[in-house]
Amino acid sequence: MDDKVILRVGAKILIPFILVFALYVQFHGDYGPGGGFQAGVIFAAGFILYALVYGLGNTLRVLPPWIPYLCSALGVLIFAGVGVVTLALGGEYLNYDVLAHDPEHGQHYGILLVEFGVLVTVFGVMVATFYAFAGRGRIES
């Protein structure tokens, strides 16, 4: 897409806002609609938009495939790890009350952490799936 100036400039303007919006959706999920699933998809959409406009090759340089592969497993590990931590602190599995002195704060921390795990996994899976599809042909032509 070398000659598509409007697309290139438009994408360049949009991508940082998409990424920041994903973070907003993530961290505002306690108060408004949103959460890890949506934020992960939006964050991945930023990179996928980049890949569609600037080509898969450039994207692979920004985000080599091992990063989404790692992320997809790491997120599940974070989620399950929070459960293990709550077990170690004497609560039930995934009972966040024990994460802080005040149970309400513990719930806040726990939700923040598991939502982050969801974000990481969903982001990794979406980008890796896109790589798997796009890597088989030449989508950027």
Partner: protein, 239 residues
Amino acid sequence: MDFVVDATLLVILAVTAVTILRVRNLFGAVMLAGIYSLVSAALFTTLDAVDVAFTEAAVGAGISTVLFLGTLALVGSDEKRPQHRPILPLLVVFITGGALIYGTLDLPDFGDPNAPAQLHLAPDFIEGSEEDIGIPNVVTSVLASYRGYDTMGETTVVFTALVAVLLLLARGRRPMRVWHEARGWISVWSDEELDPDLRTRPRDDAEGDGPEGGGDPAGDDDATTSTHDASPDPETPRG
């Protein structure tokens, strides 16, 4: 007013669905599927299910459309004419649809406050979200705290889906582990490599000396090699 909006959206949904069935051009079908998702998202919004609408818009209208387009880039965008008559599938669809509609007759009315689903746990969740957890968005507190197990399962399912996609789509040869007299257990790419005089990394020959050919420090490793192959070298045009 609500009725007008709902009816309009549902009619658009039905028209889009029928059009998807009728178009022979798959590119058009993919675009219409994206529109279908977007209209569904609007419908969820009118039902006050904004979290679901959000997901539908992002996944249904966004990512899956891109993945469909990626598939079309590989398989072409014209549907082949079907060889069989669609009478048997039509019959199956009508019977299944009829059974489902018959099943809905026993469900409580739409929005019924006395429905069993609203009486058992929902009040606890709605009140507890503010008191126990201190989070105004009940969806988040149910999803992440009250039903944390379920969400962990969902996250695992998402991860498992990626594993399945990679097993099916990530291409590239895999190395064999063989016993070598002099070198012990080694990874080889073909039988010829068992001759110790040959190079130990035939992958470099096969892939060409791309500018990033040596960039992957773990390139020899069994686990990362297939992932490297799954991502085409940006500078090297693929045959």
